[in-house]
């Protein structure tokens, strides 16, 4: 039997990798993908901890979160499309009209 701790640590590692990816990547789309990694890490943590505490709801929660991720993906891609149409680029750092 694998200790839930292992799953949790994996979740944390994935979360942190997602964070790093968010910083390393330079376009909106990939940065959003990095966020997806973080969300998935959250899901994993949820399942791991739910299992550790012996609750059956973990799966249900994960289901909701995946739905949320999907919804975010929809709106996110729409925004990225919008940006791309305007600027012909989705480089995040190009978004600097607003500052100061």
């Amino acid at each position: 039997m694998i200790a839930p701790a292992a799953f949790f640590v994996l979740a944390v590692v994935l979360f942190v990798l997602g964070v790093i990816a968010f910083f390393v990547k330079k376009d909106l789309l990939t940065q959003f993908m990095a966020v997806e990694v973080m969300l998935n890490a959250g899901n994993l943590a949820l399942l791991a901890l739910a299992k550790a505490s012996g609750r059956p709801d973990g799966q249900a929660l994960v289901l909701f979160i995946i739905t949320v991720a999907a919804a975010e993906a929809v709106i996110g891609l729409a925004i990225i499309v919008l940006i791309f149409r305007q600027r012909k680029s989705i480089r995040t750092d190009d978004l600097e009209d607003l500052k100061g």
Partner: protein, 632 residues
Amino acid sequence: MARYFWLIPLVPGASAFVLLLFGRRFSRRWVAWQASAAVFLSFALTVAALAKISAAGGGAAPLSKVLLSWIVSGAFSASVALTFDGLAAVMAAVVTGVGFLIHVYSAAYMAEDRAYSRYFAFLNLFTFFMLVLVLASDIVLMFVGWEGVGLCSYLLIGFWFDRPAAAAAGLKAFLVNRIGDAAFMVGVLFLLANVGSSSFAAINAAPGSGLLGPGPATLAAILLFVGATGKSAQIPLYVWLPDAMEGPTPVSALIHAATMVTAGVYMVCRLNGLFTASPAASSVVAWVGAVTAVYAATMALVQHDLKRVLAYSTISQIGYMFIGCGVGAYAAGMFHLLTHAFFKSLLFLAAGSVIHALGGEQDMRRMGGLRKRLPVTSFVFLIGALAVSGIPFLSGFFSKDAILTGAYAGGRYALYALGLAAAVLTAFYMFRLVYVAFYGAERTSPAPGAQSHEQPRAMTVPLIVLAVLSAVAGLIGLPALFGERANVIGRFLEGSFAAAAPHPAPSTEIALSLAATASALLGLGLAFLLYRRSPGIPARLAGRFPGIHRLLVRKYYVDEAYDAVIVRPLVRGAEAIYERFDLKVVDGALNGSAAAATRAGRGLNALQSGLVRDYALAFLLGAILFLGFLIL
């Protein structure tokens, strides 16, 4: 009529009020009449009241009246209350009497001036304040008069305010006086705090009743005396008086010779109980008076301005009065005050007559031989000069003698010697003036507006009246030699003074009189020698002792010293503080913190780079800190 003695100050006051408000709409004639009449009415009231109290036994039965409970707050109380006792009577008589004459004189003297009504309004106002000062039975009220006359002095010195010198002189007078007044005020506060009452009666009684110990009494007396040095132009605050000669000459006569400048003497006499209780303070008074008497006289030796010579003479003579007060001979001091009021105002008015006649010329080097052109003026001037020099049987002789006798009798030989020296100098510079201006060849150049005939009667009559008074006023203060009752004024004032002045033996008294006479004649003779017989000597002397001469001409550089040591450092220092501290530090601290906030804002704006990764970085940093805070 004596019941209404409280109207004495109010009549000129009311007249001043009316003139200030409506004077410009009145005719000149009416203005002069109203102002003079008001003062005359005061004079009449004064005489009536004087008669009343003198009938009732001199100063023993003063008249008094409380007009108004003025400032009352807790332990502090000051009322508008007037007291008419012997001391006040003498002073009030001088103020109203001489004041009336000068009003009359002014009517002619100022006839050409545009601001006629303003002049008389101020003159009336001055009379009002002076009488308040004199009649106040409360030191706070006296202070009202004290400052009020200062104000009027300021207004009248600067009467021709479009002349920068006059405006500056007025300001100087007021400010120097204010310095004295500040000390005076502290003295008053000191008395109020210790005595618990502001009435003269209580203050004079305080040392005796133990309310005021010797130390506090000395301190209070000296503080008050500092005020007196301002008002009465003594060392160290005399510097304003010579400059005050920028005012119209009748003003100089009234304010800067006869009345206001002697207010300090009056105040010391008023508070004789306090000063007597403090030998130290009295000594200070006497010594300052004596030193001033000599010192001012030396400066008078070399002045060329007619009025300035008289101004230094005034300073010197007031020094005399303070010698009298300081040695306990208060009555002698007051006596000299009285006679001085006569002969000095006479001298000023006569000088005014000269100046008026010469179209404003004040330099005696451009006069000479006036004896012929202005016979009356010259004659009365001569009487005045003789009186001030202490030539026997004129008024100055008796009063000066009384003071010197008092000093000698009190064993204050040094003071006596200084007094004697001053007498020599006085006779010398007065006759230098007489010889240069009135004798010898005419050196006048016909100035525009100059007249060659004698003055109108409105001017000569007051001169003559004053000349008579200068000549004979001494008779009311004959020395004890002439009998117990000969000293009329002394007896009249007895009730006002706590302690009697010391008397020497009759033989000593004669010897002292002779010494005084000799010194006066010595000074006169020297003047005759140097300025009549061989007029070349003074120039040679000046060439021989250029240092001393320059020192005297430049008035010991005291104005310059004050300027360099007090005025300029104060103004420069204030400027430096303003620029370096107020603008840089105080203001800078505020502007600096505003700038710091703005800079901080700019820094934060720079952080807000517009780049999402920076936002996320901040987010991450915040998250770590927040979590760390929670976990650890």
